[in-house]
């Protein structure tokens, strides 16, 4: 929902989808792990409850794969997140007549290390791409302190 606090009319949409998930991981060598996660929603039905009250039918597939080196006070991960969305599966013109797709592949690296007890530092650059075009490169640096 949008315009939750504004005076303008509430913009609402509802989506529903059956989805399948697969998560797999294993330790390749000592301290070296690989993990893959995959999800597919087939189809995702999105109903815009305002405006023209339209339906959208999509297939959304998301996944990520990463390899990790994990020690007690240090972790490094390298991976890739990906997404494929096939949209407009069904329109007034019929099934698959206007269907199109978009995809993204976003590689990243993350480092996290514990400086003292309860204090962790986390660094993660990620490169965004859309439909084969290179997008922004974002870097995050985070310091976490656990109170309990």
């Amino acid at each position: 929902m949008y315009n939750v606090l504004e005076d303008a009319d509430l913009i609402a949409s509802i989506a529903a989808a059956p989805a399948a998930y697969m998560n797999a991981g294993t330790e390749l060598f000592e301290n070296v792990w690989v993990q893959a996660n995959l999800s597919v929603s087939l189809p995702s039905v999105n109903y815009a409850a305002t405006g023209d009250k339209s339906f959208d039918y999509n297939i959304i597939q998301q996944g990520n794969f990463h390899i990790s080196f994990i020690q007690d006070t240090f972790q490094i991960r390298a991976g890739v997140d990906q997404n494929i969305t096939v949209f407009d599966l069904y329109t007034d013109n019929g099934l698959f007549k206007d269907a199109d797709y978009t995809y993204s592949i976003n590689p990243w690296i993350s480092l996290s290390f514990s400086i003292i007890d309860n204090l962790n530092v986390y660094v993660k650059p990620i490169l965004y791409t859309t439909d084969g075009n290179i997008g922004p490169l974002l870097a995050s640096v985070s310091v976490d302190y656990f109170l309990f």
Binding site: V4, I134, P136, L137, L138, A139, Y145, L147, F148
Partner: protein
């Protein structure tokens, strides 16, 4: 209607906090900067002044045992700032996940039902939003 929705979200936070076990609370300071890449020369990094930088002071709270049945969740409250000539406050951001995991009699697999909520402000369209996701997995 809007007030009822916000009251429900707040009520969910209170109820999950009161009933939770195995709790942890951490404070976090995150800095996000983009776009580090120079569009004309991928190998070069932009000057700091030309980056869009956001500062995220966060408080995050987790509860529940990840390996057993019962209630489990995560809540996060952030108050982001944009960094420029001065610090400009953005709209607060609230995120929560609440799951209940259970096992049916004579089965070994865990089932899970949950609710995910997001509340914040879309800076591009200048609109506050509330997203609620319900899920059931088996």
């Amino acid at each position: 209607m809007k007030r009822i929705l916000l009251a429900l979200v707040l009520l969910m936070f209170v109820l999950t906090g009161v009933t939770a076990l195995d709790q942890s609370l951490y404070l976090s300071m995150e800095v996000d900067s983009y776009d580090l890449r120079d569009i004309k020369d991928f190998s070069s990094i932009k000057d700091f002044e030309s980056l869009e930088t956001t500062l995220w002071p966060l408080a995050a709270y987790t509860y529940g045992d990840t390996d057993s049945t019962g209630i489990k969740g995560f809540a996060q409250l952030g108050l982001p700032y944009t960094v420029g000539d001065s610090l400009d406050t953005l709209f607060p951001y609230v995120y929560s996940e609440t799951y209940y995991r259970f096992r049916l009699p004579e089965t070994t697999s865990l089932m899970r039902t949950g609710l995910i909520t997001q509340f914040g402000k879309d800076q591009t369209y200048d609109m506050t939003y509330l997203n609620v996701f319900g899920l059931f997995t088996f």
